[in-house]
């Protein structure tokens, strides 16, 4: 199915949740002490994202508009609990190393963002693949960041020694401050690329992020406003136009 493939590619490259949309930064920083932890967290998130996207899409005609955010949260929290119990049973080592960050997948804004901006407006199969694509993108990004930190901080990759013994590991990259430094470098790189693109006259509008802005500006009013306005207050009609339209438009412009 062509559409499924397009969704997968979209999540992995074009709208990569970490590198392009800058969503879900808390787990990105916290669990990427090694490539394996990053991969584990990414795949766990992917499972939750795919399942919650599928179910929210199936329920999209039943969920009333006014209470959609609480309904999304209940669906997501249910799947997080299921996945957490499965991990405790079958992968206890991973469960221990990820700890409290597994139940905290509930508040990962990638998942709520996709539910709000894609799954709620699109058919189940496309939503499922959107979830898988986004999840894979997240997993790939987390593995990359974890890999860099593990390589610099311990000279290893997936637990195997890669760099020669002469390399003195910079331990700080394996610890908390290293996460901030790696992310800072990443965002600076993104800014650099953006500026280059702008000079070349290419559009680089952020498209289809659930929070309308990236995670860093979340609290300035992006997704919090959505949370808040839906609960009994006057609701603004802030629904975005279907995302595929935006993508099509952009594609035409690029041609």
């Amino acid at each position: 199915m062509n559409r499924a493939g397009e969704r997968l590619l979209n999540g992995l490259v074009k709208e990569n949740p970490t590198f392009v949309l800058m969503l879900g930064m808390c787990p990105t920083l916290a669990v990427t002490t090694s490539a394996l932890n990053g991969l584990g967290m990414g795949l766990t998130t992917m499972a939750v994202l795919a399942l919650s996207n599928l179910f929210i899409s199936l329920l999209r005609r039943i969920i009333p508009d006014r209470v959609r955010i609480p309904a999304f949260i209940v669906v997501i929290a249910t799947f997080v609990t299921v996945v957490q119990l499965l991990l405790q049973a079958y992968l206890p080592a991973l469960n221990d190393s990820l700890g409290v960050y597994i139940p905290l997948i509930v508040v990962n804004c990638i998942i709520l963002g996709r539910a709000e901006s894609y799954a709620y407006h699109n058919p189940p199969v496309a939503s499922l693949f959107d979830g898988i694509g986004m999840g894979l993108g997240f997993a790939a990004a987390l593995t990359c960041i974890g890999g860099v930190r593990e390589l610099l901080g311990a000279g290893e990759l997936f637990g195997r020694g890669i760099l020669p013994d002469a390399y003195v590991p910079i331990r700080i990259f394996g610890q908390a401050p290293g996460a901030f430094f790696v992310l800072a470098a990443l965002v600076a790189l993104q800014n650099f690329v953006k500026e280059k693109l702008q000079k070349a006259g290419k559009p680089n509008e952020k498209i289809g992020s659930g929070c309308s802005k990236d995670c860093m500006n979340c609290s300035d009013g992006g997704c919090t406003k959505r949370f808040y306005d839906t609960k009994g207050k006057k609701k603004e009609d802030d629904r975005q136009e279907p995302e595929d339209l935006t993508i099509l438009n952009l594609d035409e412009e690029e041609k």
């Binding site: 509930v106 700080i172 995670c215 860093m216 919090t224 949370f227």
Partner: protein
């Protein structure tokens, strides 16, 4: 019942040694988003202290007297997030009615906290570490004090940063993240405290 010494250890370790933002990466969004000025950062910190302390008390009571007797502890994630979301709404309504002056001061920041993962994180940590209700409240209070300390310091540095000449790609978020990283190194120094 927990001894005073135990509570004191929780107080120091949660607020300084394992600081909620700088070593556990919870509540990063408000930490980076609302730290442009020290005044607003302090307001946000006060609101966070209020909500997290209250939420850990409520979550602790619900866990012990509702979830445990019915043996449905696995529902903690679902129950906690709904309770926290509802709690913030109630707190806001209550403050608006009963304490307008406090509402004036904290009101703007309250809705921002609903999505703060630190609140849920503290409630879940309390359960994981098997804290009693009193220890849980202490942990919640200490964690949020740690958050306030971190966000106020960052805001102070950012006010100074605004006057500096920063390379273009590093303007905005990257330099703030670098600052946070340096602060995290400084906070590593508290590790020897306990």
């Amino acid at each position: 019942m927990e001894s005073v010494k135990e509570l004191l250890v929780i107080l120091i370790s949660s607020s300084l040694v394992s600081n909620v933002v700088l070593s556990q990466f919870l509540g990063l969004c408000p930490f980076l988003g609302v730290s442009r000025r020290t005044g607003t950062a302090a307001g946000m910190g006060a609101a966070v202290i209020f909500v997290i302390t209250l939420a850990s008390a409520v979550a602790g009571v619900i866990y012990r007297y509702v979830l445990c007797p019915f043996q449905v502890e696995y529902l903690e994630t679902i129950v906690f997030i709904l309770v926290i979301a509802a709690l913030v709404q109630f707190v806001e309504m209550f403050l608006k009615k009963a304490m307008p002056s406090l509402y004036e001061a904290l009101g703007v920041y309250l809705p921002l906290i609903t999505t703060n993962c630190a609140v849920l994180g503290v409630a879940l940590t309390n359960v994981q570490k098997e804290y009693g209700i009193l220890a849980g409240i202490t942990n919640g209070f200490a964690t949020s004090v740690g958050f306030t300390v971190a966000i106020v310091i960052l805001a102070g540095i950012r006010e100074k940063l605004a006057y500096n000449d920063i390379p273009r790609p590093f303007q905005g978020m990257p330099i703030v993240l670098l600052t946070a990283g340096l602060m995290a190194i400084a906070f590593c120094g508290f590790a020897g405290l306990l």
